[in-house]
Amino acid sequence: MARKPRDNEHTCPHGVSRRGFLGSLGAGAVAAATLGRPGETAPPEVADAVEPSKVTLLVNGRRHRLLVEPRWTLLHVLRERLGLTGSKPGCERGECGACTVLIDGVPRYACLTLALEAEGHEVTTIEGLMRGEELGPTQQAFAAEDAFQCGYCTPGQIMAAEGLLRAKPAPTVAEIRLGMSGNLCRCGAYPHIVKAVRRAAEARKGGGR
């Protein structure tokens, strides 16, 4: 049977962290090349390599206007500009899955997504799975099944599970293994991770998102 939740499982702030706004610079402070919507005749405007570009990102339901360099990944912007440090840098080459977020509800690697490419899409991070002060059902399931040891890969694992369950609410064990195959756990908590995804699927039947 599941153990009782620890106190600190209910203390996470909802949505954007306290550092969230530090990264949201006032718009218009820097005259930057912008990503226009040119017509047939106007050539597309190029975002300069070193001057930051103005971009609007929709993250966990909040609209952030900020200045980014073209080379900044979504992971970098989430962590270093928006203070959403739940998404973890691991390999930073699309192999480990620690940076997994949902883009338009689908799991993707934030380390291989340019922030500029995320414009116009809905980004959900591990922070966005909170329900007020409560953990969401997928997060709860990972805690209840002890589906981690060091916990570093866990936000990415949970986001991969969340994306899998949104697409496939009642996956088989084989489908869970395949759906979670883009996320490595060096502690080897895989059996518990599979159990957690099954538990999350059950929990979500009862009104889970």
Partner: protein, 324 residues
Amino acid sequence: MLPSFAYVRPTTLKAAVAALAAPGTRAHAGGTDLLGCLRDRVFPADTLVSLAGLPELVGVTPTAEGGLRLGAMTTVATVAGHPDIAARYRALAEAAAAVASPQLRNQGTLGGNLCQRPRCWYFRGDFHCARKGGGKCFAVDGENRYHCVFGGETCFIVHPSDTAPALVALDALVRLAGAGGSRVVPLEKFFVPPSADFTRETVLEPGEVLTEVVVPAPPAGARSTYRKVRARGAWDFALAGAAVSLGIEGGRVKHARVVLSGAAPIPWRVPAAEQALIGHRLDGATIARAADAAVAGAEPLADNAYKVPLLRCAVEEALTALNS
């Protein structure tokens, strides 16, 4: 941190093609291979030309001739999950489902999967190899267990794509848009073997973009499949694989394509294996003959002879699966 580059997102194909004609530009589709190459300094880019502003490059639609048109920016996940593809072009659906990880399939595009750069560790690493303009292929005398057993000449990469061998087996065509309009090339001719030019993998010219893949209507009695052998159950490139497409009428094979993956610098079509099938019933003896023919003439390097029986078995398994 990635090296610095400028970024542009054209909203017309014409503007994209114009932007890509400038030196130092690279097309950004899903970005899963591109950003890794930039991070590892495999090649530089002054400007990335994002294709994300071209919605006409996304989607799967029927053609007037009974085939399917797949936009180059369609994700690999969409290809893997598309009911028409699963029903009529099974090899492609199976190949797309076998690509990388769920996250990469959600992000990577079909066009990008065909245009991805080689995974050779000398090419990706800090070696000035033949393909990067240096004088030699380090794999010949070096660590070569993942290198090619067919078609190696000057450079011994394997083509890393799973969808490419499946699409070659399905006689796919690709459309390439450039400044002067577009041209259509059979996918088989899209890939450039080292014997023709070891500095390029495709016939794409600077300023050209792959915009769509067209798979023609399947032949009568069509069936196809893709087998991929990996070092583990998921999330890896093919050690060996086989895409097979057959047309069987009156109990006999009338049409056959056998294409190996993980075998050669390009998707490796084996006409000898196809000839061993055509005109015959698809029984055990025919399958064994075709599988033998598929690997006849393989030239393994010091550490990759294990690929030859893997390739033979991949062909045998694929044909056996189509025999049911």
